[in-house]
């Protein structure tokens, strides 16, 4: 059986919130190393990969590998009942029909318990190789969110151009064009506002803004977001979590003639 307890429901809430706008149903694959999730959107141009390592939970117990087929909208509905600071416990049998969720508000001695019906989901797993990206940009997640939202006003797509000087997000649309450039920046007193660019070679790729704004819904998970780019490979957007856990999004670049 599975029993996984999170100190704060916030992590799980935000993760599910971000994923549910990309995919409808997906399997939570639980094994002794943690809870993993991989799913593609309907168009198969974006992929979400989540890994919640066993260390993120206390305690974590998973006797067998279980796939919990969940409709994410339904899960969101249930999670809405959880307070941000409630402790969250996920429980499931070895061959489960339901996922049991318990929210405990320690302050009020309030315990709410929900059973979520599970479903069988046929899902193909993609093997994602470890890639040496040409450019890795670390930046505040709030900043990334702001850029995508701002540029959405101009166009549906954004070109991310990483150079030695910085990273430039630019969009050209019907009403004109706009761009935001971020330079490397490492404030000692505010580590959360660090902008770091690791570059092996300059790279410029165009992506769908709609997808990127969707990814940004994971912003509450982490203060920092990592964008990894290489020519002609999908962009990886990573929200790193404590203890090696992560939520990653992959998005295929727009190739060829634009507009």
């Amino acid at each position: 059986m599975l029993e996984a307890r999170l100190e704060t429901a916030n992590l799980f809430k935000s993760a599910v919130d971000a994923i549910k706008d990309l995919v409808q149903d997906c399997n939570f694959d639980c094994n002794d190393s943690g809870i993993a999730l991989q799913a593609m959107d309907n168009s198969h141009v974006a992929l979400v990969s989540m890994m919640l390592k066993a260390e993120a939970f206390s305690p974590f117990r998973c006797d067998r590998n279980i796939a919990l087929g969940v409709n994410l909208t339904s899960l969101t509905k249930v999670l809405r009942a959880a307070g941000r600071d409630d402790t969250l416990t996920l429980k499931a049998e070895d061959a489960p029909d339901v996922l049991n969720l318990v929210f405990e508000a320690t302050a009020q001695d309030r315990i709410s318990e929900y059973d979520l019906k599970l479903m069988d989901i046929d899902q193909e797993h993609l093997g994602i190789p470890d890639t040496e990206y040409a450019a890795t940009i670390s930046m505040p997640s709030a900043e990334f969110k702001r850029i995508t939202t701002d540029l959405m006003a101009m166009s549906e797509s954004v070109t991310i151009e990483a150079t030695k000087d910085g990273v430039k997000f630019s969009s050209t649309g019907d009403i004109g064009n706009g761009s935001i450039t971020l330079r490397q920046h490492t404030p000692v007193d505010k580590p959360n506002e660090t902008v770091e660019i690791e570059l092996s070679e300059p790279v410029a790729l165009t992506f769908s803004l709609k997808y990127l704004t969707n990814f940004c819904k994971a912003q509450p998970l982490s203060n920092q977001v990592k964008l990894c780019l290489s020519a002609e490979v999908p962009l990886m957007v990573e929200y790193g979590l404590e203890g090696g856990s992560y939520l990653r999004f992959y998005l295929a670049p727009k190739i060829g003639d634009e507009e």
């Binding site: 549910k20 409808q24 141009v45 993609l126 549906e156 769908s208 992959y250």
Partner: protein
């Protein structure tokens, strides 16, 4: 036995006359139609051998107790009842067109049409039936009091016959009337007789009555009208046609002909059925060759033996007589005083038949219902599937987040599928 004559009733003739006079008065113009008669003549078929003293009188109907007209001829002492022959099909309008021949003997009747297509037939009637209510009325409530019934004279019984219009007494008192003699003879046939000097005293006897009724019935059964034969004999005894004849002797045993002829084969009795003449099945018809030929798959499950058929005829006739001529209380008495074994064979056959009919009806119901259900199930399944699909779609829509819906609108042209970059695990 009879010839057609048109004759209005005593009341109608006078009315007819006035009608014709008014008609004459009205016919000033050549083309004016005479007014319709309020009491048009009726058409009767009357017996030939009645004397001029014959009268139509009103007596109480022994069966129904209502006043009914009878034709009585005092000289021959014969009674006739009137039977109305109505046209078979009511929807087709019919009328009589009357035109009389010139003859010296009878006053000729004006040629005319009669709107009503009815024809009244005077048919011989046993006056015994008229006596029956008076005979058995006094002691109708208790059955076993044959001994307690009193011996009464004919006059006493005649007094008991309802005589409201005094028609009956008048007929009795007509000169050279044979009515009383005839009635006495009929009375004697159903009564125990004791002679006390010159007086003959009668006491009704139920078993005698039963015998007489039964003999009447058997006489009637000899020659049933075709319509009754069809409805009450053929239809009543017809067994449901079964798809497969189960009680077939295996073809190998059919070489021994005596065994077969012992029981009438299906086809044989069927032929007696259709001819309805009640001929006994001739064993000569049954040749081994026909027996060996495969029997028709569709044959009645059972067929009535000639004895059964004649019994059914007898019963039908008896029921007819009992229900048309005898007072209701007497019908029961007569039926119960019949020997109990009279209709045993018929009863057995009918029980078997009703069982078969129920089975056939049941199997037919199953057939119909089965077919219907199968079709319904198909429909149901399809509907169910459709409903399920719709519901699933609905649920899917409800369970799809706004984000996913919006992403579906994103132009992904120029974006390669991720499976192009990442291999399947």
């Amino acid at each position: 036995m009879a010839r057609t004559r048109s004759k209005g009733g005593p009341a109608s003739t006078s009315a007819d006359k006035t009608a014709s006079t008014t008609a004459k008065a009205a016919s000033t113009s050549t083309y004016t139609l005479p007014a319709e008669s309020t009491n048009p003549p009726k058409l009767f078929v009357l017996p030939k051998n009645t004397s001029s003293s014959a009268r139509i009188i009103t007596l109480e109907n022994p069966r129904y107790g209502n006043p009914t007209r009878y034709l009585v001829c005092p000289e021959t002492g014969s009674f006739y009842e009137f039977t109305k022959a109505a046209p078979p099909n009511k929807s087709t309008p019919r009328s009589w067109l009357l035109s009389s021949e010139k003859s010296e003997k009878e006053p000729s009747l004006e040629s005319q049409t009669i709107q009503s297509p009815d024809l009244y037939l005077a048919t011989p009637y046993d006056p015994l039936f008229l006596l029956l209510p008076a005979l058995f009325k006094s002691s109708s409530n208790s059955k076993s009091d044959n001994q307690q019934r009193q011996y009464l004279s004919l006059d006493d019984y005649l007094d008991l016959i309802p005589n409201t219009d005094r028609h009956f007494s008048e007929i009795l008192t007509l000169p050279n009337s044979r009515i009383e003699k005839v009635l006495e003879a009929r009375l004697a046939s159903v009564c125990d007789l004791v002679e006390m000097g010159d007086d003959k005293m009668y006491r009704p006897n139920e078993s005698k009555l039963s015998t007489i009724i039964l003999s009447k019935a058997s006489k009637m059964a000899e020659n049933l009208p075709p319509s009754m034969e069809e409805k009450f004999i053929k239809k009543a005894l017809e067994a449901p046609v079964m798809g497969v004849v189960k009680d077939q002797p295996p073809p190998t045993t059919s070489t021994s002909s005596p065994e077969e002829t012992a029981s009438p084969s299906a086809s044989e009795s069927q032929s007696t059925f259709t001819t309805s003449s009640g001929t006994t099945p001739s064993t000569a018809v049954t040749t081994p060759a026909t027996e060996e030929a495969p029997e028709p798959t569709f044959a009645p499950a059972i067929t009535a033996s000639p004895a059964t058929i004649s019994l059914q005829r007898l019963r039908t006739s008896l029921n007819f007589i009992l229900s048309s001529y005898l007072p209701p209380f007497l019908s029961k008495t007569v039926l119960s005083s019949l020997p109990s074994e009279t209709f045993t064979e018929l009863e057995e056959y009918l029980t078997k038949l009703s069982k078969l009919r129920t089975e056939a009806a049941a199997s037919r119901n199953i057939d119909i219902n089965g077919g219907k259900r199968a079709r319904d199930e198909d429909d149901d399944e399809r509907l169910e599937k459709k409903r399920k699909m719709e519901q699933e779609e609905k649920v899917k829509k409800a369970n799809t987040s706004r984000g996913v819906k919006q992403l579906a609108k994103v132009n992904t042209a120029g974006m390669m599928k991720l499976s192009a970059f990442f291999k399947k695990a």
